[in-house]
């Protein structure tokens, strides 16, 4: 992918995706919590298909393109589930081994006709996909899913790719939202969006619904998760960059004791600490994406890169948002000021797909001792 393509994508995403606080507030607590029209527009722009081969209606680009878009959407606080559907669910499908399903679903994902979620975590969360608590059972010759999965985003997808433990290992299945036996319990997130607790009772599956067989499922799932983790980190980067810029503007203009508060050295030095966290996030995210794009990158190296970036991004975003709030004082705590929107999104994204602590722990278990 050329630098020009990347630049074009970034510019188009930046132009199209600007913060519309009224829209973000309006969509909070609604079902599905985002706009179908906007989603289709995103499809028209090609964003939803950046990771989908041209043969399936996508642009056939790579992670570099996906994080470029994710960063811009993070800036604009888009409630549309880009990382969840266009990266996480899409990649799980793409790296599965069901050509027919790819043929059917990928073009619809690329165009924005449908939204997909990935159900892989058990009721307690956690980073290990082998710990999923949905099981594949044989009952009277029919195969069925039993169990539950939590933190599924978006809550209101058209269908879910569900990780299930089968006798031979992990499988992935495509389950429509309307599938009999599937109950979807939305849980409110801090930013007004919802994730779902899905319960499966004798939900029928078959070779047709099988996105990935045990031969492919685990690898596809891990690849999709690492990529989505980096895409989420890019959203966090965009978000923290805007939060810092907004705070610097405030420091430059808000006057107390007859001087702009940004002239007070204690605040200046703390603003520098925010800036450093943001720049460290940028550097490590860039390095992680490069390392994942390297064809020689192993699955373990990819996991290290993803955990390294997400640990920093989650930590940095929360630190920056908290300081931004403190520096804004009372005004920042009100809902009508946009800062709170960034703050609440930071809470959601930093917890999603593993918080800083979880990724630090995964990093510790994978990285070599110095």
């Amino acid at each position: 992918m050329s630098d020009d393509t990347l630049r074009m994508l970034r510019d188009s995403a930046a132009d199209f995706a600007t913060l519309d606080g009224a829209r973000v507030r309006r969509l909070r607590g609604t079902d599905p919590g985002f706009e179908r029209d906007r989603w289709r527009e995103m499809g028209d722009m090609g964003w939803l298909g950046v990771l989908i081969p041209e043969a399936h209606g996508g642009l056939g680009l790579d992670l570099g393109a996906a994080v470029t878009i994710a960063e811009q959407l993070g800036r604009a606080l888009y409630p549309e589930p880009y990382s969840a559907s266009a990266v996480l669910a899409t990649l799980a499908l793409l790296h599965g081994d069901n050509a027919a399903l790819k043929q059917t679903l990928l073009p619809r994902l690329a165009s924005g006709e449908i939204v997909a979620g990935l159900a892989w975590q058990g009721e307690r969360g956690g980073l290990d996909p082998d710990q999923c608590s949905v099981k594949l059972r044989e009952s009277n010759g029919a195969q069925q899913l039993e169990g539950s999965s939590r933190f599924v985003s978006p809550a209101a997808a058209d269908g879910y790719i569900v990780a299930a433990r089968a006798a031979q290992g992990l499988e992935l299945h495509w389950i429509a939202r309307s599938a009999p036996g599937l109950a979807c319990e939305p849980e409110a997130r801090a930013d007004g969006s919802a994730s779902a607790l899905l319960r499966f009772e004798a939900v029928g599956v078959s070779a047709d619904t099988r996105v990935a067989s045990p031969a492919a499922a685990s690898a596809a799932l891990r690849l999709a998760l690492d990529h989505a983790t980096l895409s989420t980190s890019a959203e966090l980067f965009g978000l923290m960059d805007c939060t810092l810029e907004m705070t610097l503007d405030y420091l430059r203009t808000r006057v107390q004791f007859g001087k702009p508060i940004g002239s007070f050295q204690a605040l200046q030095h703390r603003a520098v600490d925010m800036y450093m966290q943001k720049e460290m996030t940028r550097a490590t995210l860039g390095a992680a994406v490069s390392s994942v794009l390297d064809p020689a990158c192993t699955g373990e190296q990819r996991a290290v890169a993803a955990s390294s970036a997400k640990a920093r991004a989650s930590q940095a975003a929360l630190a920056i948002c908290k300081e931004a709030l403190q520096m804004h004082g009372a005004i920042g705590y009100t809902d009508e000021y946009d800062l709170g929107l960034y703050f609440n999104r930071a809470l959601v994204l930093s917890a999603s797909l593993g918080n800083a602590s979880a990724h630090r722990s995964r990093y510790a278990s994978l990285a070599a001792l110095p």
Binding site: Q121, S195, Q326, A330, D335, S357
Partner: protein
């Protein structure tokens, strides 16, 4: 005269232990269990039953002298009273009338003002809020812009207050307003009482980022308040207001919120099954030490108040330590909660429901209101450490 329920009991005749037993028995028998340790500030409709009961018993103003209708508790008994309330997780109501207006009128008010205003405060019929902060004068009262002009027998108030706790639950407000525009900084400000039903007053709740509306904006458009509602001398309002600031800082410095934070932290850790992990225990222990030591230094300052001495500027450290400890606890809650740290409201975790984000949200404004922690650090640097300006 009688300001409230006649105070027949002389609490000083009881030993401290006996007094504690009386308070504890009352609390445990009558305080509604569902109101213990609320995750947010309660509205008047939610906790009025309890406080009306306290008012009817004559227990609403434990610190006021008996001749004014209070319980007339000694400093040490007052601490016991407050400790028992905190121990049981009893939330404050909108108690500025009891905590600020009463003591201020006793010290600076006229006898007519006391007769007019103290009885309804004791009866919880009039609820007071505090109008100090403004959009451009949060931590810096020198920038106060709300104006009051004397016009015949009334002051005409124009301007805006913000960050006013529970104004929508209040009937009255104490307003700091500029009455001399030439005077600099804190001089030229007067202390006025205002009925919020007066024409020209608009109260607008502010939805905060946690989705609550405990704070309000209050707008004044040619609002008339009788000249007799001036407390203290004209232009000497800062003297009146600051007489209660030390109390406010020791109140914000109480270990109550951090202890509530530790409770939530432990619930979350138990639900996640990590409460015995070495990593969690080490970080918990550091926070437990921070809270225990807060208790030690709180006791030190409370003892000063107990001896009836004035609190020096050192008390600012109490506010900083309490609020930043609470924030560190809230951070560890989020971190321990994992994916649950993104969910709002009461969250099903293991076999209980926990409001995971409540301490995190609640902790944020504590370092902003009551004089931001930056202001408190400035005070300590200049007035205690004698660092140059």
């Amino acid at each position: 005269m009688n300001y409230g329920v006649p105070q027949e009991q002389d609490w000083d005749t009881l030993s401290d232990a006996a007094f504690r037993a009386v308070v504890r028995a009352e609390v445990e028998a009558h305080h509604p269990a569902e109101l213990r340790y609320p995750p947010r500030r309660l509205r008047w409709a939610e906790n009025k039953s309890w406080y009306l009961r306290m008012a009817a018993k004559g227990w609403i103003a434990p610190g006021w002298p008996r001749e004014y209708g209070g319980m007339g508790l000694s400093a040490s008994k007052l601490l016991i009273f407050l400790e028992e309330m905190e121990r049981w997780g009893i939330a404050r109501f909108q108690d500025h009338g009891i905590l600020m207006v009463g003591p201020i009128l006793m010290r600076f008010g006229t006898e007519a003002q006391r007769r007019r205003y103290l009885p309804p405060i004791l009866a919880c019929e009039e609820i007071w809020c505090q109008g100090y902060s403004e959009p451009n004068a949060g931590s810096d009262l020198a920038n106060l812009r709300t104006e009051a002009k004397l016009d015949g027998d009334a002051f005409i108030i124009n301007g805006q207050k913000t960050w006013t706790t529970l104004a929508h639950d209040s009937t009255h407000m104490i307003v700091l307003a500029r009455t001399d525009k030439e005077a600099k900084k804190q001089s030229g400000i007067s202390f006025l009482m205002l009925d919020l039903k007066t024409p020209g007053v608009t109260v607008r709740p502010i939805r905060d980022l946690a989705g609550h509306d405990e704070f309000c904006e209050v707008f004044f458009d040619n609002v008339r308040t009788p000249a007799t509602n001036l407390v203290g001398k004209l232009n000497q309002g800062w003297t009146v207001a600051k007489s209660q600031l030390g109390f406010e800082r020791i109140h914000i410095g109480s270990p109550k919120l951090p202890e509530y934070g530790l409770q939530v932290l432990l619930s979350v850790a138990r639900a996640r099954g990590v409460e015995h992990d070495a990593l969690f225990r080490d970080r918990l222990a550091q926070l437990q030490l921070d809270v225990a030591h807060l208790g030690d230094i709180y006791a030190h300052f409370a003892a000063i108040v107990g001896r009836g001495e004035a609190l020096g500027p050192e008390v600012s450290l109490l506010k900083i330590w309490a609020t930043e400890t609470f924030q560190r606890i809230a951070d560890l809650i989020i971190e321990t909660a994992g994916e649950f740290g993104g969910l709002t409201g009461k969250v099903q975790m293991a076999d209980g429901r926990i409001e995971v984000l409540a301490p995190f949200y609640k902790a944020r404004p504590t370092s902003i209101y009551g004089g931001s922690n930056e202001i408190q650090r400035n005070i300590l640097a200049r007035q205690v450490l004698n660092l140059p300006g």
